[in-house]
């Protein structure tokens, strides 16, 4: 008997009898099993219903992004094509001066991969970590394609004495491992010296950390601006009579329905030095003709255009939350003796926080990854990290570092999301 005794006069017993095991159905089968069986059909049906969506998400989202992210820490361009050299690197300590075996491995690998026309891939991989080395590989490859004779070290050095550079050997050692953190190091302006120690890159080459900071700072600023501009509009939308608020809503959404390019270009027309606004200011006489303001192709341009483009993402969640706030709350506060400012600050504003949180998250995350607007109106001082990612995707073709930068960005956004959840709670987020 496992009944719980509460004092002498009170005992709780299992109504189904003295058996203490799990509950059973009327015919003695375990209740848990019966429940699972009765719901299995439903569950299977539900699974088949979502299967297409699941497949779609897997094929178009998870797999390609996963592959892309994999490039940020995995690159077998060297190790797959230079097996002998990679094996030598694996057997020796870091900093070992290349011996005859090393030179032999290198020469044979170069010859083999040149013959298989893979030498370009190898050169590209080494070039990622040590710019300017790709041509060394390709030109050497051309010369050894038809065969190479010992003494290998001498032959290679005769072709190009750069092969003796210890920095090159150190870089090849790094590249010989398919898994590497070097792309992440490069993303934060760090590199490895000949001994493999992590150090900052040359001052003139430090660009990513600054870009990350600029991206987060500008995104924060744009989020704040959209809040300042969007809050009164959302409030108007939520409180105006239906007919007027519908009109206002159309005005808010109109930019949404216009092509992003058209909107960005119209900002160019307005803001450039010979543009509408400068012309107007000169005409009124506020600024002399020779000192027209530079409002575009710099950070100012990025801030103005992005604030405009992202404004609806702040307004809409705010609006949807404000619409649900019953006006009687503010009335109640007023009747209880609060001035209209106190009523707003203590009663109305706190209730808009879920919408504000959602809007700020949306705007910030969108801004952090924004690419086309800064590319068009940002000049050089208004470029964000995503412009650098695009540059590596399409310009330098260094997808690995592009992936590493993107992964860092994703990580930072997830960290912010986590922080938001800790501070405000994601359950409080209302997206509409």
């Amino acid at each position: 008997m496992t009944a719980l005794n509460f004092g002498d006069d009170m005992a709780i017993t299992d109504p189904s009898g003295p058996a203490t095991g799990p509950l059973t159905t009327a015919d003695g089968k375990p209740l848990v099993k019966a429940l699972a069986r009765s719901q299995a059909r439903l569950r299977r049906k539900a699974f088949f219903l979502v299967l297409p969506l699941l497949a779609f998400v897997l094929i178009t989202f998870v797999v390609p992004i996963g592959q892309m992210l994999q490039r940020s820490f995995y690159n077998d361009g060297f190790s797959a094509n230079m097996p002998l050299t990679s094996a030598w690197f694996a057997q020796t300590e870091r900093g070992t001066v290349p011996d005859d075996a090393a030179w032999q491995a290198l020469a044979l690998d170069l010859q083999a991969s040149a013959e298989a026309r893979n030498i370009g891939t190898v050169g590209t991989r080494v070039n990622y970590d040590m710019p300017g080395t790709r041509s060394l590989f390709t030109s050497t490859g051309r010369k050894v394609r038809r065969g190479i004779d010992p003494p290998y070290q001498q032959t290679l050095l005769e072709i190009d004495d750069e092969w003796a550079d210890p920095q090159l050997w150190s870089t090849m050692r790094e590249a010989s491992k398919p898994y590497t953190a070097n792309f992440y190091l490069a993303s934060v302006d760090r590199t490895r010296d000949a001994e493999g120690n992590i150090e900052q890159v040359d001052e003139r080459q430090r660009v990513y950390v600054m870009l990350f900071w600029r991206t987060f700072w500008l995104s924060g600023l744009i989020t704040a601006l959209t809040f300042v501009l969007g809050f009164p509009i959302a409030h108007l939308l939520a409180t105006l009579p239906m007919r007027k608020s519908n009109l206002l809503m159309i005005l808010v959404l109109l930019p949404f329905w216009t092509s992003l390019l058209v909107r960005t270009t119209s900002w160019m027309v307005l803001l450039q030095q010979q543009g509408v606004i400068n012309d107007l200011l000169v005409w009124i006489g506020i600024i002399p003709d020779g000192q027209r303001w530079q409002m575009i192709y710099n950070q100012t341009g990025t801030i103005i255009a992005m604030t405009h483009i992202l404004l609806p993402f702040m307004i809409l969640p705010l609006y949807s939350v404000m619409r649900t706030i019953n006006p009687s709350y503010v009335r109640a506060a007023r009747s209880l003796g609060a001035t209209s400012w106190t009523a707003f600050r203590r009663i109305y504003f706190p209730q808009t926080l879920p919408g504000l949180g959602a809007g700020a998250m949306l705007v910030f995350i969108l801004a952090v990854g924004y690419y086309i607007t800064p590319a068009l109106v940002g000049g050089s001082s208004g470029q964000l990290i995503s412009n650098m990612i695009a540059q590596h995707m399409t310009g330098t073709l260094n997808w690995s570092i592009a992936a590493a930068l993107a992964a860092l960005l994703l990580g930072a956004v997830l960290a912010l999301y986590w922080l938001y959840d800790r501070l405000v709670g994601v359950d409080n987020l209302k997206l509409g």
């Binding site: 009687s328 009335r331 009747s335 209880l336 003796g337 609060a338 001035t339 209209s340 706190p350 209730q351």
Partner: protein
């Protein structure tokens, strides 16, 4: 007797008019004075202007014309937060992001009271509505009735002289509503506050109020204590709106002071008391309460006129029997009989003669 209260009126509406669009008047010439400590209910169908009157008193709407005075002081230009009027809203309007204690503390905070003073007052107000244990709960964690109590406590915590209630019990179920009616009434008597209560529920109005103002079409149709309102309605609207009522249309055949003889449209003749009828030959609607209709000759006064009625349906309702009769061509004449041992049971199809005491039939304006 009620009229001479004007001298010590606590709340006074004087020729108040209100229009939202400049085209139509929502409130037409409202005159109302409420004495200190009185419980006055504004009762009426939706759109009758009662809530607008309350909102004008609270300060959320401005009167288009006329004066509103509180304790002799005109308050038309006083913003709501300076009126010091407690208010209970229809949906309670408890601040969802604050606990019960913070909700109650809010009016005291904005008045700059010290922390100790606030705590004492909040505790006292919560104990008053028997909700002392709920001080740290959020409104969402409370049932409707509990929220109602908190809203009441919040409206009272800063000791207002006047408390407005805008259909405060509308969202509660019947049993809870009756219980809360009782509690609000008790609080009113204990604290000696003046209450202006808006509702469209006539039962609520009759049980709680000292006086009821029946609103329709932007006007007060009748302002009277509940019993008077029910037994001596002044016009057809009030007669029809308060309680169940039989209306018979006819013409004044004979008028002697306030004793009238009414010829119904089908030729029958009935007794009535003239209320707002001036002369012979005028059209009228005679109003009779179902429980005052008699069908046993011995219950009627001597010489009372009777008319023929056909029993269409008898519904057993426990404490009473409710008969639907065909009278003067109408199928909706209702008679209520007490369910006593000796009560004669009527059957559908039976024909009886019905009548009433002339005082119970009131000849009012034609509908």
């Amino acid at each position: 007797m009620r009229e001479d209260r004007k001298g010590d009126a606590f709340v006074e509406f004087e020729h108040v008019q209100k229009s939202y669009d400049g085209q139509t008047l929502v409130v037409k010439d409202l005159n109302l004075s409420i004495a200190k400590g009185e419980f006055v209910t504004m009762l009426g169908p939706s759109g009758s202007g009662k809530t607008t009157c309350l909102m004008m008193l609270a300060g959320f709407e401005t009167a288009t014309h006329g004066d509103i005075r509180l304790d002799g002081r005109p308050i038309n230009q006083v913003p709501p937060h300076k009126r010091g009027i407690g208010m209970v809203f229809q949906n309670y309007a408890l601040f969802p992001h604050m606990t019960v204690g913070e909700n109650l503390s809010f009016p005291l905070e904005v008045r700059g009271l010290s922390r100790d003073e606030r705590e004492t007052r909040v505790k006292r107000a919560l104990d008053m509505v028997q909700m002392g244990d709920f001080i740290n709960r959020r409104p969402a964690q409370l049932s409707g009735g509990q929220q109602q109590r908190i809203a009441l406590a919040r409206a009272l915590v800063f000791d207002p002289q006047l408390v407005l209630m805008d259909e405060p019990l509308g969202a509660l179920d019947k049993q809870l509503r009756e219980h809360m009616q009782f509690e609000i009434k008790n609080l009113h008597e204990q604290l000696g506050i003046t209450v202006v209560y808006v509702t469209h529920d006539q039962g609520e109005a009759l049980t709680m109020s000292d006086r009821v103002a029946v609103f329709n079409d932007g006007r007060i149709q009748q302002l009277a204590p509940p019993a008077e309102l029910y037994e001596r309605p002044e016009n057809s609207f009030v007669a029809g709106f308060i309680g169940e009522n039989n209306a018979l249309a006819g013409t004044i055949e004979q008028l002697d002071d306030d004793k009238a003889l009414v010829r119904l449209d089908d030729g029958g003749l009935i007794d009535a008391t003239a209320v707002n009828i001036r002369e012979k030959g005028q059209r009228t609607t005679v109003s009779i309460r179902p429980e005052r209709v008699e069908f046993k000759p011995e219950m009627m006064p001597e010489g009372a006129h009777t008319i023929e009625a056909q029993v269409l349906q008898v519904i057993y309702m426990g404490d009473i029997l409710r008969a639907r009769l065909r009278v003067a061509g109408s199928d909706n004449f209702v008679m209520k009989m007490r369910n006593t041992i000796g009560q004669t049971r009527l059957d559908a199809g039976q024909t009886v003669r019905i009548g009433w005491h002339p005082e119970d039939a009131r000849a009012l304006d034609p509908i």
